[in-house]
């Protein structure tokens, strides 16, 4: 039995290591495609898949992989939580560290606690029915993905630099490759992660038993599982199993709650009488199943909870025109993003795009554009621009909220302007449009030479044109100033990034109205 426990721990550890190894994989501008399955854990979550597809009213083929997890739950209950889930593995690892310094968190929770996750699952489902994607904040892969992107990655970068290594060099092999990652609101992820660890220090698997909505769904599916843990007659009711069970799934009376059991095998290994066995339903001795499923009243609370929060999110009632106008003008979505509403429905807030962005220009939002946008990516050109030859964010996105756009590695000799524009998806999916603030711009306001924005403009025919300025007081002859040709601007923010003014740039990109798809090529 100890062998089974060891095998499970080995698999769990390998899975967690794989997750963190993947979190260093990147698909930077240098690579055509990432050699690693960066976002596989986001795709394995059946509850996230269901909520996302429901909210988006679309079938997302890649997420169909999560059916495997659901099938595993039908067979083995929450075994996913004990064998595969990297967050579960991390929490188990944390308890192992605590044990090494002589601390042992208990496993007793008040009876309402395990029910809360079902209420949360229900509330998130209600929100999804109203086309609101809130699942991503709680999906374990997203939670841990954000921690990797906003906490682990910047820290790893710092450590590498402190020993004189240049992390960007690793981009050639599809590893890291972000230049100085620093994320606004990253500390919120750090705080959330520390809170998880703190909770784990008080009660084992607190998150998994109390909050995790994915765990709740797997628990529901696990109620009818084929393989379960049951007691044989040799049990002398010593209570060891109930004390050692990390999820508190064994009652003192020798009953296993199938919806809580993660098949971690600790009880099997620790039972002094070897009285616990894995058995197929119907073969071994049956155990009672006092499953803490919500009663009718609790279900009602869950639905109410969901309904209550709906108006906190949604701008739909006011119609698209008004919603667009109200929307934060600086809400610059990554290139290839779906139109805003669909984008919000599909984005699972996993942080992969923001980690993949080589310039660190993609930053997480928190409250700037409303609760609905929390932890979605936005391009902050002053932090980093959208590099012309790069489509890393789209390739990192698990759900297609950001589509992968084609950007040729190099322009072929002799290509016409039309061909160049057609071949580069950046022209089709415009992020926004730049405009010059003539009251701040150096040539316009001071009559002194400057053309940094025009020089850096990556569009091949320069969306920024330098024009003569007449009538600017004190301007020397021949001073030219920038003007944006809106038909050529792709909104990449390079101009805003390089503007030499301190603080706010004198050329700024703002969101296109309606959506990010240009009608130029009939799309």
């Amino acid at each position: 039995m100890r062998r089974l426990l060891k095998a499970r721990k080995a698999l769990q550890t390998a899975s967690a290591l794989f997750f963190f190894a993947l979190s260093f994989a990147s698909a930077g501008p240098v690579l055509e495609a990432t050699p690693f399955p960066m976002h596989v854990y986001s795709l394995l979550d059946p509850a996230s898949a269901a909520a996302t597809m429901l909210a988006a009213r679309a079938f997302i083929a890649a997420m169909a992989v999560s059916l495997l997890t659901l099938l595993s739950a039908a067979a083995f209950g929450r075994a996913f939580c004990g064998f595969i889930c990297p967050l579960g593995a991390l929490l188990d690892g944390w308890r192992a560290i605590l044990a090494a310094i002589g601390r042992k968190p208990g496993n007793v929770l008040p009876p309402w606690a395990p029910r809360f996750k079902y209420l949360l699952l229900g509330a998130l489902a209600i929100l999804a029915i109203f086309e609101i994607q809130a699942y991503g904040w709680f999906a374990p892969a997203s939670l841990l993905g954000r921690t990797a992107a906003f906490v682990v990655h910047p820290y790893a970068d710092l450590m590498l630099r402190s020993i004189g290594a240049e992390p960007a060099v690793l981009a050639r092999w599809g590893i890291m490759g972000q230049e100085h990652p620093v994320h606004a609101w990253g500390f919120v992820s750090l705080a959330a992660f520390l809170a998880l660890l703190a909770a784990e220090s008080a009660r084992s698997r607190f998150w998994c038993r109390t909050v995790c909505p994915t765990g709740a769904l797997l628990g529901l599916a696990g109620k009818f599982r084929l393989v379960r843990i049951s007691f044989t007659d040799s049990c002398n009711s010593c209570g060891t199993c109930g004390r050692v069970c990390p999820t508190g799934a064994i009652d003192s009376g020798g009953k296993v709650r199938d919806s809580e059991c993660t098949m971690c095998m600790t009880c099997l290994a620790m039972c002094p009488k070897s009285a616990l066995v894995l058995s197929a339903r119907g073969i071994g001795p049956a155990a009672d199943d006092p499953s803490p499923l919500p009663e009718r009243r609790a279900l009602l609370v869950s639905v109410l909870m969901g309904l209550l929060t709906v108006p906190m999110f949604n701008l739909r009632g006011m119609g698209r025109e008004r919603a667009d106008r109200r929307r934060y003008a600086r809400l610059l979505r990554p290139p290839g993003s779906l139109p805003e509403r669909e984008f919000l429905q599909r984005c699972v807030r996993c942080g992969q795009c923001m980690r993949a962005c080589p310039t660190n220009g993609l930053q997480p939002l928190l409250v700037e554009a409303g609760l609905e946008s929390a932890f979605t990516p936005v391009l902050v050109p002053r932090a980093g621009y959208c590099e012309f030859g790069c489509s890393a964010c789209g390739r990192a996105c698990p759900t297609g909220a950001i589509r992968t756009i084609s950007v040729p590695k190099e322009q072929g000799a002799g290509a016409s302007a039309e061909e160049i524009e057609r071949a580069n998806g950046k022209y089709r999916f415009r992020i926004g449009t730049a405009s010059v603030d003539r009251s701040r711009c150096i040539p316009w306001a001071d009559g002194e030479p400057c053309s940094v924005c025009e020089e850096h403009c990556p569009t091949h025919d320069k969306a920024i044109k330098m024009i003569g300025v007449e009538g600017v007081p004190g301007a020397a002859a021949g001073i030219r100033a920038p003007r944006v040709d809106k038909s050529k601007c792709i909104g990449c923010g390079t101009c805003e990034y390089v503007c030499p003014l301190a603080g706010q740039a004198a050329i700024r990109v703002e969101r296109l109205q309606r959506n990010s798809v240009s009608s130029r090529f009939g799309i």
Binding site: E448, P458, H460
Partner: protein
Amino acid sequence: MLSRRRFLKAAAAAACAGACMPAMHSCNLEPSDEEGAGERVKSYPPSLKRLHAKRDPKGVGDVVAAATGSKPGLTARVAVELLGGMGRFVGKGQSVLIKPNISWMTGRHSGATTNPDVVHELCLMAFEAGASAVTVLDRTCNSAQSSYERSGIKAAAEAAGASAPYVSDDDSGYVEVSFPGGRALKSWSFLRKALEADVYISAPVAKHHSLTGVTLALKNVMGIMGGNRGALHRIMDKALADAAEVVFPDLVVLDASRVLVDHGPTGGNPRDAVERGIVIAGVNPLQVDAYAVDSEGAGLFTTAPSPVTSWRDIGHIREAAERGMGTAEIGTLKILTRKI
């Protein structure tokens, strides 16, 4: 209660973390304020060899060599041989820094970056002359990874056995250099790695530039300058001359094999670049630049959309000539040419 042992363990852990802090502190994420960074270094340590270098130490004189051919690498080799060969500039066991233009990610056909074959050939020649190490670098405008890769220069340098490290913005990699005769700038920060080289070879590409008209050898120095380079644009001509008076190359190899004549410095449409097949070498960036643009010289931009016919048309070349960095009159230069 906290037992003594646990207290000690915790204290040891905290001490270890504390010990790591200085190392982490050295990689500042924020640029230090200008006063701190601008601390004037009066006498430079001997390791900063470029700041102790003399102009034209091998006595080449006012010579500009121009080779023409269809293979840029070979053309570059011939141009350097016209000056006396790489052995004249690189001694046995010396470290060599090659500074091409790697600024942009627009790819080798755009003409916005130095031809990788030229870089490759220069690396080979430096090793042939006995160089102990050859480093190829540039502080790029687009991200280092895409610029180094897409220009083909990283691969070309590494194929020749040279290293091509990315240049970081990290302040610790830069040294503040003062310009005693500066007319626009009193000082500016320069890349430490570049200043430490025994031999400094400037290998720019000739192309159009929307602000300065053209960008050639004099402007190539910007690639080893730190700080907010955009801020230099207000005073570009004087700033470039200020820098050229203090930091100068031992050898200039100007790649004009394919010249971007419009929409520079980024390019992006290969039709904006014109095949010229020329590589110009010299020891004085001012003279190389003057020869490159003047219609009495190579006249690289005489037929460009904004034509340049005289070196006097270009502000920063004119400014450098006024500073007494040597003669820029084409008639007074010794011109060596060869067609391959």
